[in-house]
């Protein structure tokens, strides 16, 4: 159904409109069009700085976060054939968070903004390597989930350990806020860290999309048709790790998007994994853009964190979906 031309156009138009609102709406009011054209002519005013240096990278980051997490969620649910699978299930988000927490806890983050993403990335890659290494001798998809849950639990405990052992209340404060997930004040630098990793991850996942369709016939059938299951697992895990590591390293943990988006898409694409994979990024990007715009519209003294809002909005919706489906 989503393949119908009007729906495609509607989705595209929604994305464009939301991106426009994401640039226009903010904590402060700006004269959008003058700021836009002033920025093009290198005329620096407060409005142009806000539009070009703060809101544009933020909107780009929303698109990256949404599309990346939606894609990773769809790929994992397709591969594991488990409707509860999402990027955090395989432990990569938790590992990335642990890396970031370490960088803040030991004080390395004070050396510059590059160090927290680098630490998060290294830890997510380590988690990915562990996951691939520990699952290479098994064909069971359940093993992937169980090992992922184990990695997630270990990373979570180490994060808590870092928090409880931290001598420094200022670092604890920073760690807690970082973990809540946010795209506030991201710069082009952050976009440049996340963007290429998400693109590379997306390459691995899209490459596997046809195999995911065949896998829905069952492992044995897929294997007999010629699907290389080990290769498929490697592609899915590597793709997911690159995407989740690249995103979490910059924004912190943004939950639930990877979980709920495929559920939203699936009924419109006849539950076909390949098409779920194609559409989830766009729908997830819409969800993230809506959440991020809502954060800026909701009047609060501080700012609600993106990760908090996606969980708050996502949980009731997810419960509704589950109650309808009776899994």
């Amino acid at each position: 159904m989503l393949e119908s031309r009007p729906l495609k156009a509607f989705t595209g138009l929604t994305l464009i409109l939301l991106s426009y609102f994401s640039l226009k709406v903010g904590h402060v009011e700006i004269d959008f069009f003058p700021a836009f054209f002033d920025g093009l002519s290198q005329n620096k005013t407060a409005d142009t700085i806000i539009l070009w240096e703060l809101r544009l990278p933020r909107t780009l980051m929303c698109l990256i976060v949404g599309s990346g997490l939606g894609l990773a969620g769809a790929a994992l649910q397709g591969y594991l054939r488990n409707p509860l699978a999402e990027p955090s299930v395989v432990g990569i988000s938790s590992a990335a968070a642990l890396g970031a927490v370490c960088s803040i806890g030991i004080g390395v983050s004070a050396y510059g903004i590059i160090y927290t993403p680098i630490f998060a990335l290294i830890f997510s890659m380590a988690a990915c390597w562990t996951l691939i290494h520990l699952t290479q001798n098994t064909d069971s998809k359940h093993s992937v989930i169980l090992i992922g849950v184990g990695i997630s639990a270990l990373a979570g405990s180490l994060t808590t350990l870092m928090l409880s052992l931290s001598d420094n209340p200022f670092a604890v404060n920073e760690i807690v806020f970082w973990m809540l997930g946010s795209v506030t004040d991201v710069s082009y630098f952050h976009v440049l860290i996340s963007g290429p990793l998400v693109l590379l991850g997306a390459f691995f996942l899209f490459k596997s999309s046809s195999d995911l369709n065949l896998l829905s016939l069952g492992q044995e059938t897929a294997s007999s048709i010629g699907v290389d299951l080990k290769r498929l697992r490697l592609d899915i895990l590597l793709g997911t790790a690159l995407i989740v590591g690249g995103i979490t390293s910059v924004t912190g943990i943004v939950g639930f998007v990877g979980l709920i988006t495929p559920h939203m898409v699936r009924p419109f694409v006849n539950h076909e994994p390949k098409r779920t994979l194609m559409w989830s990024p766009a729908i997830a990007a819409i969800l993230i853009l809506i959440s991020d715009i809502a954060i800026r519209i909701i009047p609060t003294t501080g700012e609600i964190k993106l990760g908090v809002l996606t969980s708050l909005l996502g949980t009731p919706f997810f419960l509704y979906l589950i109650s309808q489906k009776r899994y």
């Binding site: 407060a46 806000i50 703060l54 004070a110 510059g112 420094n168 004040d185 501080g302 700012e303």
Partner: protein, 295 residues
């Protein structure tokens, strides 16, 4: 009945006499001990801000331990002075093991731990978190009294009062402090009081929101304060910029004068917070000079 009434009146008289007697003893003991040291075993201070006041008043001689952050030079101005002292967290067991005669705790410290310390028979005195220079003076007076250092406290307060008056007739300029973790202090905070005393006011765009909170850089850029005070960070500073801030903040430098000050200079209600008034007062004059020259 009359007998009963007589007894009741007598009982009231006796009760009043006892109460007056107790109060007399209490006040007599208070005045006698006003300038007498009550420290026998030593003092444990459990908060960085209190540590700073304590060291300023009596040095390290009678101090057994200070808070764990006090030894960290990234956050503490007294890291060198307290190097030889024990460091303690606000943990009843750890504090009790030091057998102090006095424990100083912040009003923000855990009530659970304070109760535990009281139950263990320790004398816990609370010091309020300073939200203004006046609070710093009050804390100094209070600590001076309980530590038997009233004279020293009075000296420090006098120095503070000499410095703090300066802004009274100045033209008000807009200033804001913005932490690297995107935190802005509220109207009723020590840094806001320091700004006020240096001749600065909160930007008009922010006046609707006097509360503290985490704010996006958008607010700061739109507010365009004449002075923006950012966190100094020796490690991540390059080309006069702290790389922990979004670079967009520095794009405003034509309209806004940006200075970097280490948070430890002012985050605590210690006497050194007053030095910032002098520094900001000079900056105020400089901005005003530039502004007048530009007219």
């Amino acid at each position: 009945m009359p007998g009963k009434m007589y007894l009741s009146l007598n009982f009231r008289k006796i009760s009043k006499s006892i109460l007056v007697f107790i109060l007399a003893i209490f006040f007599a003991s208070q005045s006698a001990s006003a300038d007498k040291k009550i420290i026998d075993n030593g003092i444990v201070s459990t908060n960085l801000c209190i540590d700073a006041l304590l060291i300023a008043l009596i040095g390290t001689k009678d101090v057994i331990a200070v808070s764990s952050v006090a030894g960290d030079s990234r956050y503490s101005l007294i890291a060198d002075e307290v190097k030889s002292l024990k460091k303690v967290k606000f943990n009843a067991e750890a504090i009790y093991a030091l057998n102090p005669s006095l424990v100083l705790a912040s009003n923000f410290s855990s009530p659970k731990t304070r109760l535990a310390l009281n139950k263990l028979g320790l004398d816990v005195k609370m010091v309020n978190y300073a939200q203004s220079i006046k609070d710093v003076e009050n804390n100094l007076s209070y600590l001076g009294e309980i530590l038997g250092a009233s004279k020293k406290a009075a000296e420090i307060i006098k120095t503070i009062q000499v410095t703090k008056h300066r802004s009274e007739n100045k033209v008000k300029l807009e200033a804001l402090q913005y932490s690297a973790n995107k935190y802005v202090n509220g109207q009723h905070s020590l840094i806001s009081d320091i700004f006020r005393r240096s001749g600065f006011i909160r930007p008009s765009q922010m006046s609707e929101n006097p509360q503290a909170g985490f704010l996006s850089s958008e607010f700061i850029i739109k507010a365009q304060p004449q002075l923006l005070l950012l966190d100094k960070n020796e490690i991540s500073s390059k080309n006069g910029k702290n790389s922990r801030y979004n670079n967009a903040i520095y794009e405003l430098s034509d309209q806004t004068s940006i200075i970097h000050v280490d948070q430890k200079q002012w985050s605590c209600g210690s006497p050194s917070a007053v030095n910032l008034i002098t520094q900001l007062g000079k900056k105020h004059s400089e901005i005003l000079r530039k502004k007048n020259a530009g007219k």
